[in-house]
């Protein structure tokens, strides 16, 4: 499947057709502002719709949903970026900066290594311990989540 087909096969993805490139998403985007518009959701959507291409810039979305709130055509901009990230992972694998989180999830069921040290601190605070689990690992394995 090419990118456009993948996007249009998803219920949120189909809203890409609503976009007329007005740029409201980018005007309010905090990431666009601090990256001199290297991150530019208007361009990312335009590129996906017309050229069927994905680039690394999709990883700069803060997932704050300001774009989606402000979009006059109700294009699900932030959900589209998340969808494109999943398509990226399918094609190119999990980016290096996400891998440690996945490894931690597989090892203990949390995104960070939480164990004796944290539980000792919690005990001193009078808080109950948290437990590591293997269920998260089994779900990741069962769903092909990259472990």
């Amino acid at each position: 499947m090419n990118l456009q087909e993948e996007i249009l096969s998803n219920i949120d993805g189909r809203t890409l057709n609503y976009c007329f490139s007005c740029g409201m998403c980018t005007g309010g985007c905090p990431s666009a502002r601090v990256t001199d518009s290297i991150y530019n959701p208007r361009k990312i959507l335009h590129r996906a719709a017309l050229e069927g291409r994905l680039e690394e810039d999709i990883w700069l979305c803060t997932n704050c949903y300001t774009c989606q709130e402000r979009c006059p055509t109700k294009t699900k901009v932030a959900d589209l970026i998340s969808l494109m990230r999943r398509i990226y992972v399918k094609e190119k694998g999990i980016p290096g900066f996400i891998k440690p989180l996945i490894e931690n999830l597989g090892a203990c069921g949390f995104t960070a290594r939480i164990g004796d040290l944290e539980n000792k601190r919690r005990e001193r605070m009078g808080l109950p311990s948290v437990k590591q689990n293997q269920e998260v690992r089994r779900i990741i394995e069962k769903t092909g989540g990259g472990l």
């Binding site: 990431s31 949903y65 948290v130 990259g146």
Partner: protein
């Protein structure tokens, strides 16, 4: 007694246990029971960017644990809230998808039924408890100027989250005011903390964090009040790093909302875990009697 299944996620036990501590004390005072889920682990949030079925199944797993306890799920983290609230809604509305998720969950002998609600702690305080009830427990009004930081994932996407006014929210402001503090207005109140891109681009993240710290300082705030452990990490634990990156100084203390409420209820600084907040503050600012003794 009203009771909730209580979910703390990953960031809180890893580095923000004082959010957990202060929430428990405040809820006890309000006669609300919290049922622990010690082996709950992660809400699955990051899998939204990696694999849809993994995300749905991890979130549904946590919700199914609350279903077993027959209680609505109270969530402290806005990120967890966004993940769990939306997945709960999606699976309730889509039986075919629910069946597919349950096929995965059968691997760990669990089932998502769709019998509970997911509620962020601010939503519980605002909707289920209410300002009037909270006010009865305020014995030590805190006379400071506070900047409310709503963050992203308990208001947006608003067509799904269905809580407060996404453009002009009032819940956290009113909850701040009931403690005696003034909730001040400031520029770009709805701006994101930047936490989500910290791993991908630290500089971009710190510039966002710094923008808000600057706006809050300009408006004359004494403290920032957060409703999410990761927003708190960005503004409090990372404030020094942000100052170094931007060559600017802020020095704004950052409190988890239940810490502020607890102080107003008469708990002391230690009971609210305030010694673990990184940015230094003058204890006098909280008019905290027990500390003065």
């Amino acid at each position: 007694m009203r009771e909730y299944a209580y979910f703390i996620g990953c960031t809180i036990p890893f580095r923000e246990s004082n959010y957990d501590l202060s929430t428990r004390k405040v809820m006890e005072k309000l006669d609300i029971g919290l049922l622990d889920m010690p082996d709950a682990g992660c809400c699955g949030l990051y899998y939204e960017l990696v694999n849809e079925m993994t995300h749905l199944a991890l979130a549904a797993r946590v919700i199914s644990m609350a279903e077993e306890l027959k209680r609505d799920l109270l969530v402290l983290c806005s990120g967890c809230n966004g993940s769990l609230y939306r997945v709960n809604k999606k699976l309730k509305e889509n039986p075919e998808l629910k069946d597919r998720v349950n096929e995965v969950l059968s691997e760990v002998d669990r089932e998502f039924k769709g019998t509970v609600e997911v509620k962020h702690v601010i939503r519980v305080l605002w909707e289920d408890v209410g300002i009037k009830e909270i006010k009865k427990h305020v014995s030590n009004p805190i006379n400071i100027k506070a900047a409310a930081h709503y963050g992203c994932h308990f208001l947006r996407p608003s067509d799904e989250m269905d809580f407060d006014d996404p453009r002009e929210p009032i819940s956290l402001d009113r909850l701040i005011e009931v403690t005696g503090a003034e909730s001040i207005d400031y520029f770009e109140k709805s701006l994101c903390c930047g936490g989500y891109v910290l791993a991908a681009d630290q500089k971009a993240a710190y510039m966002m964090t710094g923008t808000k710290l600057r706006n809050v300082k300009k408006a004359g705030a004494d403290i920032i009040v957060t409703a999410c452990p990761f927003c708190h990490v960005m503004y409090d634990a990372n404030q020094k790093a942000v100052e170094a990156e931007l060559e600017e100084s802020f020095g704004i203390p950052v409190l988890h909302y239940p810490q502020l409420l607890g102080l107003a209820m008469g708990f002391d600084l230690k009971e609210m875990g305030l010694e673990q907040n990184r940015v230094r503050f003058n204890p006098q600012m909280f008019n905290n009697k027990k500390e003065d003794e």
